[in-house]
Amino acid sequence: MSWLKRLLPSKIRTESSASEKRGVPEGIWSRCTCCTAMLYAKELEKSLQVCPKCNHHMAISARNRLVSFLDQDSIVEIATTVVATDWLKFKDSKRYKDRLLAAQKKSGEQEAAVVMKGRLHGLPVVACAFDFDFIGGSMGSALGEKFVQGVNECLKSHSAFICFSASGGARMQEGLISLLQMAKTSASLTRLHQAGLPFISVLTNPTMGGVSASLAMLGDVIIAEPKALIGFAGPRVIEQTVREKLPEGFQTSEFLLAHGAIDMIVSRQDMRTAAARLIAKLMKQEAPLSMELLGI
């Protein structure tokens, strides 16, 4: 607040939100983060945060993603009691505890991932989604445990597993314990595969570091959303190490597809259909008799 505003009586004072500064009325309109087109918020919600003008895939919350992905009325959230632990009493400019509280307040979630059990075009599935807004979707002990509980639920209910990653990597504030979540989540997938259950890994913007170098790259089928940033080391770190300019489109979904790292790129609106078609075949089920799947 400027000194001038501070002097004004509170009745006259009007808090200006960030969206007003951009000239966008809060809640009704928003801008595409890529082509800057003005978009009707309701419309954007319907298009799953994909810009109807330029097809840019913007961030979507874990909850909204899963609710829109699974069959309605089939959804049960699981692994809800797992909460983060401040193992190290970690403190940088802020306490880790406070960062957690702030993230929880902002997102309304307890952790950077949500896990739900339900059906996908009638097929039994468990789906996990990362929330990039929650401390960069970083993987700490609670996230690792939630992922494992999702896998275990698949074993119990003979379901396929789908994970939407969106993460900067391991959660530094939990130290080595977060690094070990890479080993823990990867190990849990050995049981899923022994049980003959498919794992579809969906990479969304961004999927980096320890998440990319563990669960995300272990899908039986790996799908990416268009133009997502995917890699092990961040572009800045690589640039500083090799001291040369990175090639155009480096570490994008399209780059990974061209280099054989992923199976396909699928738009968010088509993800339900794409995943269901794959899972039905891998689980030797009849093709789901849904209108969407028949391409009508």
């Binding site: 130290g175 314990i177 070990l180 979540q181 050995t190 790259m217 092990f232 961040g234 480096f250 570490q251």
Partner: protein
């Protein structure tokens, strides 16, 4: 100033230099040189003990990265016998950053896999400063699967600043190479013993670090991100590395305190670089002891135990 000594080692180094000088002086005056040498040696010993009894976290980080610290090849030469190096990922490259081979530990055939940093410039370049590329991890996996086929225990020696962050490494899917090793090591049907001998740098270390027994040398470090990386992200300044190292708890005693490793292997007074042979003797006897224990477990029990250990990471 000798670059092979850390700043806090300098007073000890000075004393040792003086002792060396005295040894070369002819004993012709009235001074009894032997007595003087003995006196200085005692002093050097006391100084080393007192310096190493109150090391800060950052000093331990420096020791883990000490230019004279024994590397994988030094242990291969001293701990094992009958070593045959195996090369190549069978697709693209030798994979020289991770040394692999079959050898004997106390006569028992084993597979040895370890990251090598390289000491002289040429060696550093050859081994890419200890930063493995996807080919290195794929070669390590190939050799681990060979171990599984012939039921040989796997012994890994971890010493890396981290997996290589480069354009070629990304293009060849560094992430997948690491992820694949984590997955395969979780179910490899033979005992795996991992020891952090220097730097346990992030995913690049963990990619050969999943096992039935995980140990750290006393002055080694193991961390989710380098202290420099953590400092530049969270403190916005790489100069806060010491603080970051402290906050993340990267030292063997902190990691042990969180129950994330099985054992700390003590180093000679003054650190492993002060006495390669003694360090190798301790490492050898510890590895043999752990191997004897693990070898008694039937494979299904071994794998179930490994799985449950992994699942317990991060549970209160």
């Amino acid at each position: 100033m000798n670059l092979n000594y850390l700043d806090f080692e300098q007073p000890i180094a000075d004393l040792k230099d003086k002792i060396e000088e005295l040894r070369h002086v002819d004993s012709d005056g009235g001074v009894n040189i032997a007595d003087e040498i003995q006196r200085l040696e005692k002093k050097a010993q006391e100084l080393t003990e007192s310096t190493f009894s109150k090391l800060t976290t950052w000093q331990k980080v420096q020791l883990a990265r000490h230019p004279m610290r024994p590397y994988t090849q030094d242990y291969i030469d001293r701990v094992f016998t009958d070593f045959d190096e195996l090369h190549g990922d069978r697709h693209l490259d030798d994979g020289a950053t991770i040394i692999c081979g079959v050898a004997r530990l106390d006569g028992v055939p084993v597979v040895v896999i370890g990251q090598q940093k390289g000491r002289k410039t040429q060696e550093k370049l050859k081994h890419n400063f200890g930063m493995p590329k996807p080919e290195d991890y794929r070669k390590a996996l190939r050799v681990m699967q060979l171990a599984e086929r012939f039921k040989l225990p796997v012994i890994t020696l971890i010493d890396t600043p981290g997996a290589y962050p480069g354009i070629d490494a990304e293009a060849r899917n560094q992430s997948e190479a690491i992820a694949r090793n984590l997955y395969e090591m979780a179910k490899l049907e033979t005992p795996i013993i991992c020891t952090v001998i220097g730097e346990g740098g992030s995913g690049g270390a963990l990619a050969i670090g999943v096992g039935d027994c995980v140990m750290m040398l006393q002055y080694s470090i193991y961390s989710v991100i380098s202290p420099e990386g953590c400092a530049s992200i969270l403190w916005k300044s790489a100069e806060k590395s010491a603080q970051a190292a402290e906050a993340m708890g990267v030292t063997a005693d902190r990691v042990m305190g969180l129950n994330l490793i099985d054992k700390i292997i003590p180093e000679p007074i003054g650190g492993a670089h002060g006495d390669y042979d003694l360090m190798a003797v301790t490492l050898k006897s510890t590895l043999s002891e752990q191997l004897r224990k693990l070898s008694q477990l039937p494979t299904d029990q071994l794998l179930e135990r490994r799985y449950q250990r992994l699942m317990a990471y991060g549970l209160r």
